[in-house]
Symmetry: C2
Subunit: 323 residues, 2 copies
Amino acid sequence: MQFLDKYQEIVAKAVEKYVFKDKPTELYEPMNYIISHGGKRLRPIMVLMANDLFGGDLQKAIKPALAIEFFHNFTLIHDDIMDEAPLRRNQPTIHTLHGINTGILSGDALLLKAYKFFEDLEPELFKACIRVFTHTGLLLCEGQQYDINFETLPNVTFNDYIRMITYKTGVLSASSFEIGALIAGADFKDAKAIFNFGKNVGIAFQIMDDYLDVFGNQEQFGKKHAGDIYENKKTVLYLLAKENATEEERKELEYWYSKKTDNVDKIYSVEKIFRRTKVDEKTLLLIQKYNEIAQDYLNKIDVPDEKKKPFVELANYLLRRES
Amino acid sequence: MQFLDKYQEIVAKAVEKYVFKDKPTELYEPMNYIISHGGKRLRPIMVLMANDLFGGDLQKAIKPALAIEFFHNFTLIHDDIMDEAPLRRNQPTIHTLHGINTGILSGDALLLKAYKFFEDLEPELFKACIRVFTHTGLLLCEGQQYDINFETLPNVTFNDYIRMITYKTGVLSASSFEIGALIAGADFKDAKAIFNFGKNVGIAFQIMDDYLDVFGNQEQFGKKHAGDIYENKKTVLYLLAKENATEEERKELEYWYSKKTDNVDKIYSVEKIFRRTKVDEKTLLLIQKYNEIAQDYLNKIDVPDEKKKPFVELANYLLRRES
C-alpha cells in the first residue's frame, strides 16, 4: 500500500509539527503521549485522500485532518476508562499511568483542541465542517451508549446492530472523507457520495472485525480467538446465528450467552452453532454487500477512475486483513 | 433582584423547550436531569444581559445562552466524577446514579450538544462565537489541572492562584458576556470590555468564595465552616497568610496543611494565624480591587448608564452574598 505510506508520512510529520507545547504539561503530555503512539492514522488519511480526490490543497486540509485524529484519540482515552483497558497499542493507557481524573480531563481538552484545529478555515467552510464534526461526535456517543445497552438487552435486532456499528465506526470514516471533500470545494452531491462510501466501508470493516474474531487466522489478526464469545458480545455472528437457528439451537446459544465463563465448551458449542447456521458464509456475503454499496457510491463521483484507485485499494486493504 | 427573575424565567422556559428528546434515553436523560435541576443559571443569563446591553435580539441569543449552560453542566458532570461528589444541588450526581461510564459519556455528549446550539448563527458570527467558546473550554481544563496540581505543589504563588481561578471561574463569565455581545453585533472593543468586566467579577467572586468559607455566616452561606482548611486547599487566605506570616507562623501553617485531620485544633490554629496576618481585611480589599477593575471596564462601554445598571447589580449580588 504505497499510497498509504505517503499519507502516513505526511500525517506523522504534521503530528510532530503540531505537538502540544501548552501548559500545564500534566494536561497536555498525556495528549501528546497517545497521539505519538500513532496507530494506522487512517482517519486523517481519509481526510487527505478525499481532499486530493477533489483537487484540494494539502496545506488547507492538514490541520482539519489532525483534528479528526485528535477526536479519534479523545474517544479512545474515554473508551479506555470505560472499558478499564490497561493497554492501547501495546502501551499503558492514560488512566493506567495517570489516573482516571487525568484521563477524563485530557480527553476533554483533546476534543476541544480538535475544534481549534478547524479555525484556519474561512467562516462558511468552518461552519460546514464543524456541523459535520459535531454531528459525528454525537452519533459516536450514541453508538457507544447503544453498545453498552446491548450488554443487558435481551432482544437486539440485526437493524439495531447495524445502527450501532454505523454510529460507532461508520460515521467517523464517512465524515473524515466528507470533511476532506468539503475543504477541497467538492459540491454537496459529491461530498455526500464520498461520505456514503466511507460509511459503508466502515460498516463492512466492523462486520469483518466480528467475523475475524471467530473465523480469522489468529496470528495475523493478533487478538485472542473468540474473545467476543467469551464476553457474550452480541456480534453480527451471534445475531445471524440466532435468526437462522432452530428453537433448540437458539436456546443453547442463549444459555451460553447468559454465562460469563472461560470454559472452552462454550466456545466449542457456540462455534458449532455458528457453523451449522452458516453464519460464516452469510457474514462474508454481508461484508461483500456493504463493500458493493460503497463502490456504487464511489462510482457516482465524476472524477477519472485513476484518481479513485486509492479508495478501492483502501477498501480492499481494510476488508482483506487476513490475505 | 427583579431583573434576574425575568432572565431566569426566560432561561427556564428555553430549557423546557429544548429538553433533549434524542435517543438512546440512557445517554440523554442524565443530561436533562442535571440541566433541569437548574441552579442559578447565571451564565446563560450573562449571555442574555450582554445581548440586551448592545440591543441584540433575544431569539438569536437564546440557543447560544443554553449552549453556555450545557457547557457549564458538562464541566459539572465531569468535575463531580473527579471530586467523587455524591451530591450536586442537593440531588445525587449522575455518576452516583448511573455509574462513572454514563457520567463520562453524558458529559461528552453535552459538550457536543453545546456546540450544536450555535448552529443557527450565520457563518461569520458562528465562527467568532465558536472560537471564544473553544478557547474558554481549553482554559477551563487548564484551570482544573492547575487546581489539581496545587494539591501537591509546595510553593503556589499568589499569581499562580489568580491564574487558576481566572481560568476556572473568571473566563466562563467573561466569555458568556462576550458571546452575548458578539451576537448583538457589538464591536470588538465593547465585546472585550464586557469580557473583562465578567472576568474580573468572576475573579472577585471566587476570592469571596474563599473568604466566606472561613469568615462567612455559615447559615446563609450554606456550606461547612472552614471546609477549605480541612481539605488543605491553597486558597487566597492561605497564600496571603503565608506571605504575611512570621517565620514561626509560616511553619505552623505548613505543619497543619501537611495533615489531613478533622481535629478542631487545626481550624482554631489556622484561623488564629489568618486573623493575626489580617488576611480577612486584605482579602476584602482584594475583592474590592477586582470589582473596581470590573466597573472600570463597564464604564468604558458607550451605552447609557441606565442600561448598565443590571451589571452593577449583578456584581453586587455576587459579591455580597452575606448581606
